[in-house]
């Protein structure tokens, strides 16, 4: 892998490395108990019971129990993970003791579930936890008598934990092929509709019939094995290379690299052109929603990520865009009905959004940090209440909103289906991404960043902070208003309740989880937080539970987001970088994923 080609710096002094400490069994036990609490919670929130009827692989793997034992697997993986190499110690290697740690963690987790089962069979807990029903007990105990069931649960959890820890013992290449293969099988099993739609769009229904138990059915055992083998072989062959694709691209001479990225961009654009055609209306609708959120996220990224102003009322600008578009195009608009085409209305939408941006920004110019966040939160709510109010109903239609917004029309082209809307939304996302890139390395982009770092010094160094703040708010507002106008046209109506505080929060979470200040990160964030929940409709009642868990896990393990901007990653992992610098010299870096950051340049 990567370490093979990188020239190793000379060791300045030969030192005797101390043997690494063995894996900590006490920690494993603690992790096991934490895992047990998580497993009990998963059972008590009803996830196990609800999804027991959903078969991942027909007929052997129901999703409900898999959830439970995946937790045992995950905590076993954590417990069996060799600790990061400390200065002066030889890098830790996984051995059978790690397996024991994993099994211990898993077994303790299982024991907690066993205790839950025992409690459930003795008392009726449904007064407090509605979901702890006799049916759930039946599922948890596999229909066995209690004593045997507890032994079975503990045994299965211990095995799951040991397998989790066993991942660390695998040779790298095997691990790098095995894990993706399992993940792909899981994805095929979870996204049955999506996969079916994809095969239908490519007129390859025979694949659906082969892999699944009929259209819309679950993955069959044969199907699962097929997917597993195909992915495993593909990754095994790719894993043989000594350099990653990224390193090879970076090693290319400049001209070749430009040509490569142009070709790559063209290929991606062509694929995207066919996405809505192949994926059909449902998936296109989901992608449209994600695109609109992405547009907002890119706008908010400028305000929060670049200029460092925490805006919690960002949905207001989205609403201004949607309402301006609606008033100017709809024949049902209560006050006046110019009935413009949306294309013609867009400049007015931009102006309205810019004015709204100025209106919000002007009173908060002298505010910083928390105070700014609270005031913008208030502005967001004020906007929603105004659009909802009886007082302004003659203009905005009050709670009835504005309906009958005509579809987007470009020349002779009349867009109506979700598939059609994919293209204009995607175009605006591209524009927003370009604007973000262009402003990043510009005079005002630097001024925003300077203001984010230290406002008074930025001002003392010549940055007009008033202009900087106003301009950041205006750019963010205009980008959000595009999203609003497209949203209104696509849905065909705007109602005040579409502009809830939850929208602001979701957009902010997209940025944070994706990676603040980074365009690819924000795109991935929108994909994870908007596309996944919409494709996995069956989980919708647990959507916010998963959001919460995702946020906590991200903040603990990867606070810089999925694809962070380089500077944020460096800032948040400065200690680890200096630690890894030592590893580069005294080499023999453990080939586990114990160190996640890249070595310093």
């Amino acid at each position: 892998m990567a370490q093979v080609t990188a020239p190793s710096p000379a060791r300045p002094v030969e030192v005797e490395l101390r043997p690494a400490p063995p894996v900590d069994l006490g920690r494993a036990a603690r992790l096991g108990l934490i895992g047990g609490v998580a497993m009990v919670l998963v059972a008590a929130t009803g996830i196990v019971g609800t999804f027991q009827t959903r078969l991942l692989i027909d007929p052997i793997l129901p999703l409900g129990l898999l959830f439970l034992y995946l937790l045992a697997f995950a905590f076993g993986w954590m417990a069996g993970k060799p600790p990061a190499a400390l200065e002066g110690f030889a890098p830790a290697r996984a051995n059978s003791r790690n397996l024991v740690a994993g099994a211990l963690a898993g077994a303790l987790g299982g024991l907690c579930v066993g205790v839950l089962a025992a409690l459930m069979s003795t008392f009726d807990l449904r007064g407090v936890f509605v979901q702890l029903s006799p049916q759930l007990l039946e599922i948890l105990t596999f229909g066995l008598p209690l004593g045997a069931a507890i032994i079975a649960i503990v045994a299965i959890s211990a095995v799951a934990g040991a397998i989790g820890a066993g991942v660390h013992l695998l040779p790298v290449r095997l691990k790098r092929s095995l894990l993706p293969a399992l993940v792909w099988v899981m994805m095929f099993a979870l996204f049955t509709d999506l996969v079916g739609q994809l095969f239908a769009g490519l007129s390859a229904e025979f694949l659906t019939d082969f892999l699944f138990t009929g259209r819309g059915g679950a993955l069959t055992i044969v199907g699962a094995i097929t997917v597993f083998i195909v992915v495993f072989v593909a990754y095994w062959l790719l894993g043989g290379r000594e350099t990653t694709l990224r390193e090879r691209i970076e090693a290319m001479p400049r001209g070749q690299r430009t040509r490569f990225s142009l070709i790559a961009a063209a290929v991606i654009l062509i694929i995207l052109w066919f996405v809505p055609k192949v994926m059909g209306p449902f998936v296109s609708q989901v992608l449209d929603t994600a695109g609109i959120y992405l547009l907002m996220a890119l706008g908010l990224n400028i305000v929060v990520g670049y200029a460092g102003m925490l805006d919690l009322g960002y949905v207001a600008f989205f609403a201004v865009g949607a309402y301006t578009g609606a008033i100017l195009t709809s024949p049902q608009s209560p006050a006046f009905t110019p009935q413009l085409l949306l294309i013609v209305a867009i400049p007015f939408v931009m102006i309205a959004a810019a004015l709204a941006g100025l209106m919000v920004a002007t009173p908060v110019i002298r505010m910083r940090g928390d105070y700014l966040a609270i005031v913008t939160l208030g502005f967001g709510e004020i906007a929603r209440i105004l659009f909802n109010s009886e007082w302004l109903a003659p203009i905005f239609g009050g709670a009835q909103g504005i309906t009958n917004i005509p579809d987007l029309q470009i020349g002779p082209l009349q867009l109506s289906t979700p598939q059609d809307y994919f293209y204009p939304i995607f175009l605006f996302v591209l524009i927003a991404a370009y604007v973000t890139f262009a402003l990043q390395n510009s005079r005002w982009g630097r001024a925003w960043m300077a203001m984010r770092e230290d406002e008074s010094v930025a001002e003392a160094m010549g940055v007009n902070v008033v202009t900087a703040k106003l301009s950041a708010f205006v750019v963010g507002a205009v980008l959000a208003s595009f999203g609003g106008a497209l949203f209104g046209a696509q849905i065909g109506s705007v109602f005040p309740h579409s502009f809830d505080i939850v929208v602001s929060v979701t957009v902010l979470v997209i940025i944070i989880v994706g990676g603040m200040g980074s365009v690819p990160g924000v795109a991935l964030g929108a994909l994870v937080l908007i596309v996944l929940p919409n494709l996995l409709r069956e989980f919708s009642q647990y959507q916010f539970l998963f959001y919460g868990v995702l946020l906590i896990v991200m903040m603990l393990t990867k606070p810089e987001g999925f694809i962070p901007s380089k500077r944020r990653a460096q800032e948040l992992h400065a200690d680890e970088l200096s630690q890894d610098a030592w590893l580069d010299i005294y080499g023999d870096k453990p080939t586990t994923d114990a160190t996640t950051t890249e070595p310093p340049r």
Binding site: S442, R443, W444, R446, M449, S456, A460, M461, N464, E571
Partner: protein, 260 residues
């Protein structure tokens, strides 16, 4: 006429009179040191001149403009730049970006220009970058080459101080205010910086006001020394005049312990 003239300014924080009817003149091309015990009002004096705080009364005239009441960025644009006692860089911006922020006030390009990459925006951007590199080259190899793209927070302490001076230089000032530039430096770095301050005047033509506690540095760089105490000017003059002044010895320098 003097470049900077301060006419009986006063500043009080609650009951504490930080600056009390202070008069100071700084001529073009001078290097003036401001010394005094802790709490004498030296940094407050800098904050007042650069507009980070507003005086309660009095006038600050820089190059014929009364700067009292102007915003810090407007004062900087007139040609009055400073560094900070507790180094205040933009930590997660690169070294070069830090200096390029200093050029902000000398540019005109707006958001529209940046989005459409107009010809004037591109040439201005190239000029800002060239200017930033030129400023950094003033520090020899200290801030050269690969350091341009390093984030400011990874720099050593001495280099951070240098980068702060570079950022101030990039604003193309006429008067440079340095707040304890050698604080926390080792003796070799202090000597190097003393030479650098001389070069700033000789090669760049800046007028310099410097707050300094290291009396070696004060003796080596300054044409004139101003002593502050309790927000008032105790005395001023050449280093030799000031260092033998009874009041200064009493308030700040102290006398050698008497032999028994």
């Amino acid at each position: 006429m003097s470049l900077l003239s301060i006419e009986s300014i006063s500043k009080a924080f609650g009951g504490l009179r930080a600056i009390n009817s202070l008069n100071i003149e700084v001529d073009q091309g001078e290097i003036v040191s401001v010394i005094g015990p802790n709490g004498a009002g030296k940094t407050t004096f800098f904050n007042l001149v650069t507009g980070m705080e507003t005086p309660d009364s009095g006038n600050i005239v820089f190059d014929g403009h009364n700067v009292v009441g102007l915003r810090p960025n407007q004062i900087l644009e007139l040609g009055l730049a400073r560094t900070f006692q507790n180094v205040r860089l933009f930590p997660t911006m690169t070294v070069k970006e830090n200096v390029m922020v200093g050029q902000h006030c000398r540019g005109k390009a707006g958001l529209i220009g940046a989005i459409f990459k107009t010809k004037s925006q591109r040439s201005e951007e190239a000029r800002i970058e060239a200017r930033a590199e030129e400023v950094l080259s003033f520090f020899g190899t200290r801030l050269a080459g690969y350091r341009h793209d390093q984030l400011a927070f990874v720099l050593s302490y001495a280099n951070r101080r240098r980068l702060e001076i570079a950022r101030a230089m990039a604003t193309e000032p006429r008067l440079l205010l340095l707040d304890e530039p050698t604080a926390g430096m080792n003796p070799r770095e202090t000597i190097e910086l003393t030479e650098l301050i001389g070069r700033l005047r000789d090669e760049k033509g800046y007028t310099i006001v410097i707050i300094e506690h290291d009396m070696q540095v004060v003796r080596n760089v300054s044409d004139r020394v101003i002593v502050l105490d309790h927000g008032e000017k105790l005395t001023e003059g050449t280093y030799d005049e000031v260092s033998t002044n009874e009041a200064v010895i009493e308030a700040y320098l102290g006398r050698p312990s008497e032999r028994r």
